[in-house]
Amino acid sequence: MNNITPYSSPHYFIYLLLLLLPIMIGLWFGKRLHIYDFFATVVILWITFFGGNMSQGISLIFYILYEMLLVFIYLSYRKKHNNFWIFTMFVVLAIIPLVFVKLDPLLKNATISLFGFMGISYLTFKAVEIIMEIRDGAIKNIKPYEFVRFLLFFPTISSGPIDRFRRFQKDVLKVPSRDEYIELLHSGVNKLMQGLAYKFIIGYFFGTLLLPKIQILTLSYRGETPFGISWALVTYMYVYSMYLFFDFAGYSLFAVSISNFMGIKTPMNFKAPFKSKNIKDFWNRWHITLSFWFRDFIYMRLMFTMIKHKWIKNRVHIANFGYLTLFLIMGFWHGETWYYIVYGLFHAFAMITNDAWLRFKKRHRKSIPSNKFTHAFAVFLTFNVVCFSFMIFSGILDKLWF
């Protein structure tokens, strides 16, 4: 038997639904079966991480122990002291395993990533969130089993959505009423069906049927035209964008759906992103839990510090500096290749341009028309800018040029 990637095969869904059944019956009768929940988590994690090659699973165990140690040492430290540098040190220590995993491919013949397993990014986001909120005093107490339950919540373990500890606790500590649970089941079934259509029909059509053919066609222009640019490349851009959305949105719908069955309202990750009227709007609709994580734990904190200490006077410069930092970090997080970093820079400049346009619009509000045609144009423009950025992200240019 091999490790099964969550939500990737019919097997996974069958195991999952069988395991969920007692949880659902329990919730139906107003009970949370905490011991059974733990058992189900162990089984699912076993299928996911220990099915074939055990190294992922062993990494996961050591990773959890390591992060738990950090969080609880910091928690006991924070009860008495609050030094900025100690806090920074703990955040850095919490991120280090992820940094190693990301740097590993750059180093030839060296494996420095002790903790390589699927989903390490998402667990790290959760752990860092907890450390930051402990510092702010928003989390005053957390028990080891609560920490582990939050990090290992299996519906979202491999790729999010990234929930927040206090929000998650609110759901776990209460049992939904019969009416609320019926509503959650209803929403769960809808999302499951939508997810199946997104990932296994539309995503499959674009990603598995169309994309490989168009890639071959696109790469056939390599060296034939200036920079290998062709209509095939343009088609690739749109097909890849559709695949990326439907595949990931489909996966996210599964994660939210399964959470709902378990009485947990995991936040949604996508909100019709291709209807965005500008790039800022786009980031409020695309991979929402990630962009909000970056917004709350990097961008706003950075802005807050910079404004408070008056490092830079001009607020436009501060905001732009923030965008560059944020999107560069996001680029590096995706992976240490040139196209992810260019993707980050591209979005930073798109945000900066967008802000400049919004400022201009504010000053000339009376002379700039605003109607359904300008709205349609804005949506069209944003869609194309986004698809262009996904073409960079896809790495096709790397194959085409180098």
Binding site: D136, A138, M300, R301, R315, I318
Partner: protein, 79 residues
């Protein structure tokens, strides 16, 4: 309370540069795009300086700070 609200409206006008910012005390400032992340931080810092309160960023739950009325209530609690 009214004094707090007036001060908050002044801060909102100042930060956003909009004359009608906060004129409706129940308007959702985030949903209607009056405040973006940057403006939010500026409002937060100004609130801290004006009222001498401490608002850690992670205490800043958007749903609890979304209207002039809600901000005034939070400020009063923290003062």
């Amino acid at each position: 309370m009214d004094e707090i609200k007036n001060k908050i409206v002044d801060i909102l006008k100042d930060v956003t540069g909009l004359d009608d910012a906060g004129s409706d005390a129940d308007q959702d400032l985030f949903k209607d795009g009056v405040l973006d992340s940057m403006a939010t931080v500026e409002v937060l810092v100004t609130l801290q300086d004006t009222f001498g309160i401490q608002v850690p960023v992670s205490e800043f739950d958007r749903s609890q700070w979304s209207t002039v009325n809600k901000i005034a209530q939070r400020v009063q609690e923290l003062e």
